[in-house]
Symmetry: C2
Subunit: 337 residues, 2 copies
């Protein structure tokens, strides 16, 4: 049998009210009674029924996170790193994480609506913002607290943490052109993703800067997986005049591109330069280690989580918009021509 307040009340001879208030350390309960109630509660192994508590208190101490899946899964180490950051910070702050996966579309919207209306969670963490992000408008209309990892195209006002992808790609391409590369391919993410926009913008701007023609900077869209990177890289490498460098917009695709190059007998970092973006833990240990842009994914997760909790608790945010500069990590996968 599950122990409830009534059981403690019966055991101590006090009322339910008193027991409740004793457990919550109200000061209209005598120290003696508190001690007694706490003792008995411990003995009986009491812990409160969460739903009853939440029904009454009108908040859940739970944060929602719906991972957008393209394809059947979300096993991108990027997400696991982010989730780790969110989860651990949330645990510290006394919050739980309710995780779901939903492909972008109607199902996804229903999931959000149900969570909001049904008061399942106190707030949402939004990841992988999209150009026209219905999630954002939905949450704003509902006046529901959320923090996004990523910006949105429309000049909507909402708190976010994001990395400066444009800046990052510029630094990266400068690194490549400094090494003498004049023909640089790009493995881009699906264009509806906001971060694709920023990274691509950086890529393009820095080409203009370096005086490289568009024709010498082929851009292929991949699905962010190794396989996608591999497939697109094959196309680049097998073209009439293949590039001497490939800038992938995430590490996973960079790994795929490395496989494609190595399969063709090329030595990555010598015969061809390949770079990534994200610096997932794997990047340091690939062979050769991957030149990439580091963004502190784990810390970002924690940061987003923290902001959301503040928002929920009605505290003011010190910074509503956080834009982090990714740091270029030059490893052995890039070299001079």
């Amino acid at each position: 049998m599950v122990v409830k307040l009534k059981d403690i009340a019966d055991a101590t001879g006090k009322s339910i009210t008193t027991v409740s208030r004793a457990l919550n350390d109200y000061d209209d309960v005598s120290e003696e009674t508190k001690a007694l109630v706490n003792k008995i509660a411990k003995e009986l192994g009491y812990s409160p029924n969460t739903w009853a508590q939440r029904l009454q208190k009108q908040h859940t101490d739970t944060l929602g996170l719906i991972l957008p899946t393209f394809g059947p899964r979300f096993s991108d180490p990027f997400f696991s790193e982010l989730l780790a950051g969110i989860g651990n910070r949330a645990a510290q702050l006394g919050y739980d994480i309710l995780v779901s996966t939903r492909a972008p579309g109607e199902e996804e919207e229903i999931a959000y609506r149900a969570a909001i209306q049904g008061k399942r969670v106190d707030g949402f963490i939004l990841v992988r913002t999209r150009r026209q992000d219905e999630r954002i408008t939905l949450l704003q209309e509902s006046d529901f607290p959320f923090v996004a990892f990523g910006r949105a195209e429309e000049k909507l006002d909402f708190p976010f943490v994001d990395e400066d992808g444009t800046h990052g790609m510029k630094v990266l391409v400068r690194h490549l052109t400094a090494l003498g590369h004049k023909k640089i391919g790009c493995l881009a993410p699906p264009p509806e993703l906001m971060f694709a926009h920023y990274r691509l913008q950086g890529f393009k701007e820095s080409l203009t800067e370096a005086g490289i023609q568009e024709s010498d900077a082929p851009i292929l869209v991949g699905d962010l997986t190794q396989r996608g990177g591999y497939e697109q890289a094959c196309k680049l490498l097998d073209s009439a005049s293949p590039p001497t460098a490939i800038a992938a917009c995430n590490d996973l695709m960079a790994f795929g591109a490395m496989s494609a190059a190595q399969e063709r007998g090329m030595v990555v970092g010598k015969d061809i330069s390949i770079t990534g973006f994200d610096d997932i833990p794997m990047a340091e240990y690939s062979h050769p280690p991957l030149t990439t842009l580091h963004q502190p994914i784990y810390e970002i997760g924690g940061r987003v989580c923290e902001m959301l909790v503040k928002l929920i608790q009605g505290e003011a945010l010190k910074e509503r918009y956080v834009l982090l500069k990714p740091e270029l990590l030059v490893r052995q996968s890039s070299g001079s021509v």
Copy 2:
């Protein structure tokens, strides 16, 4: 304002009872009324308050998953793959996942107790079973539904899915000895983990089988990360008579070992053989691609999830104990001496 049953009742002129029953498609409500109620409910954007529902119904449609963290994070791609499998299957079955991270110890136990007593979740998925696993006894004592990924040492009876690590390692070592290796190092997981036990057992048994002395089969314990694998592999490689093959007990450590070997100018797959266990998505794309044991992590996640849901719903399990045979994938990281 949040829409509740009362609002629909007022709008339709029906009672709360009737509205509730109409929405739940009871057959003591006329079709007309049902249609009306559903229409109004949709118009008002109603969706039920989850806590109230759960308080009443006594179940949560939520599965609990507390990831044991050694160190501050759990960004092992293994977990993200597993979580993906669990999450997607759960979504199909109409369940949510409540994810927490907790380091093994008292905090962890408190988290379990609170979730059980507080009826937060309908059941638990247990991962990374340990030799003396207090979580199992706790859940059994509380008579709380759970399914484990992994077995336990004591002959406790509980439903689980596991891979046959002993068998896997045997197949693997046979592969290595067939290639002529006579000195094989092993990177083992922390011994309190149950899967360490099974994999190590397989390792040891197959050495006896092949007539290899213990002194020619050094076993070093690593923390399952690349870094850990790197560090321990360094010790092996820098020893007086280094092994010609290293069998790491998970892929991540194998990657670390590959870095260590490559750092020393060795060609992995030629100068030294390195193998993993798990076949995380990365394994196929490392350089060289990793010889490893494939276990269908994603599918296991789904399977565990499915079993737990059946258990919760009181259905009989077709198979209470599932033991899968990992499949040896020979890639280029292993070669003859």
